[in-house]
Symmetry: C2
Subunit: 315 residues, 2 copies
């Protein structure tokens, strides 16, 4: 069986490591690609020269395909896209913004483009824009999220009804059993974020990685919905946000509390009390910081266990 | 392969029809059980004499196992449980409240008890109470929901880590592909709500059933979180609730807007503008009102398609 996602990207397993701000530099991307998945450099918050260095170092570490994830609403977007093209990157995952804006520009340079969406409404825009793959990400995912709160389990079948094109499920996928679940549901591959944040090669601060190991199933929440919804670990900063929100605070009041650099402070600098710690609900099942290659190996083992369970079912 | 859920309840397929207020009387429960699933009479909002009548009529329609779902916080709870015991019901699904309260009482009469939980915290209480099965229900489910907003995809692996006991996944399951996904994830069976609301035998008002067919993937939302969180279709009543909530309304103000009988008004009487319409996110993939037996048949067909996809995967 040829898989739409392994074929599209030229990879061994349909496992994509999500491009995550402050957590996924060249080191993680290269390790994932070397192990047979698709590593993505998360360009969010990278200056143009940093992105160039990450691409060069990633290529020095692996001759396997890797890509860059880039949020389309960034101020430096034109400069960042120019670097991606000039450095010969062949795979780009875009998120936020409108996929119509840059898809055909990138494709003209032979770049495969995937776009991340939280709803069928945005999936339709992807189809119109002619992207090569859709990433449908559910409410349980860490970090920024859609306003409609549709979960991965509800979103994948809804997007699959729209189109037969390559479809990657994201949000809530922390094991090979969840990967099998997504294949069963009609997806062609999975994008995995949180599980790779807690890897040896992730650039997340060690304090943040350790926090993930202590997160329980009610330990995150989607907040800041009047700004851009974001899923955070329930730390001191989160508690302040919630208190304001319970009182019906305005977007302006919330923006003032948020200030600047909260995500860097939490995830890169390790201020686990007052920084933003973006992680998905599936963090509650992550108990060990592991090498990226071990995470991929475990996924395949778990996938095969799940396959066996399903094959043995009688009905 | 013996399945923990089919063995426990003596049924053909591990598909449980959720017991749903105003929607699941004897007619639906009997049809589901006749077709090889487990039908549940939803005792929520039934007076004791109504529950007795539903049990008697259900047994007249089918000699296959069926059960009753009962929220433990009901005022008439003792009277309702007495009827269940006296009428010889052999399967009870409880929800809300503490499973310790009634589990061993019911088990003494040879009744199998399953309890519905939204988190590992409550799953632990189930294990302590010695229930026969756990139903773990995610954020995407319709109607009343937990406060922690954990989705089915994140919840099932977390509960599975706690225990090997029979585990039923609920929330977001509208097809046999989702059933295969839940088996892959480690569940032993599924509880299906929304899909059965839009069935011929459901006692939901036709107006409500037709509303379900027109619901899109952003068409429901979890609201009234300061009272008891409930997922509703976005109608006029919902808009009033949201407007109040955005302003930071108190529990008292929300209770006043809600008033009494909103759920009956919407789901049983068909006031689609100003009633409460409780449905899950997966409603967006429901396009036809079908006989319950056809829904079960489709689940098995779709399950087998998913199994084929997984069996053909190369990795």
């Amino acid at each position: 069986m040829k898989n739409k996602i392994t074929d599209l990207f030229g990879i061994k397993y349909p496992i994509i490591q999500g491009g995550m701000i402050w957590c996924s530099g060249w080191k993680l991307a290269a390790a994932v690609s070397e192990a047979g998945g698709l590593g993505l450099i998360g360009a969010g918050a990278m200056r143009p020269d940093e992105l160039r260095e990450n691409i060069i170092r990633c290529r020095a570490e692996t001759d396997k395909p890797f890509g860059v994830n880039i949020p389309l609403l960034y101020p430096d977007i034109d400069e960042l896209l120019k670097i991606i093209v000039l450095e010969g990157v062949k795979i780009v995952f875009t998120s936020a913004g409108n996929p119509k804006q840059y898809t055909s520009y990138l494709q003209r340079f032979g770049i495969k483009v995937a776009h991340v969406v939280p709803s069928t409404r945005f999936a339709k825009k992807c189809i119109e824009a002619g992207v090569d793959a859709i990433v449908a990400e559910g409410f349980e995912a860490g970090g920024h999220n859609g306003t409609e709160e549709t979960t991965t389990l509800a979103l994948i079948p809804a997007v699959r009804e729209l189109t037969d094109m390559p479809l990657i499920a994201a949000g809530g996928i922390g094991s090979g059993r969840a990967m099998a679940a997504m294949i069963a549901l009609g997806a062609d591959g999975v994008q995995v974020g949180s599980r790779f944040v807690a890897s040896d090669e992730s650039s997340a601060h060690d304090n943040f990685k350790r926090m993930i190991l202590n997160t329980w199933d009610g330990g995150t929440r989607l907040v800041l919905k009047k700004l851009v919804p974001v899923r955070l670990i329930k730390n001191e900063f989160y508690k302040q946000v919630r208190a304001l929100e319970e009182e019906g605070a305005s977007a302006e009041e919330l923006a003032e509390l948020l200030g600047h650099g909260r995500a860097k402070r939490g995830m890169a600098e390790g201020d686990i009390l007052n920084g933003e710690l973006e992680i998905g609900q599936i963090a509650s099942t992550i108990h060990e910081i592991l090498p990226a290659a071990t995470i991929i190996d475990n996924f395949i083992k778990e996938y095969r266990e799940a396959r066996k369970d399903i094959m043995l079912s009688e009905w």
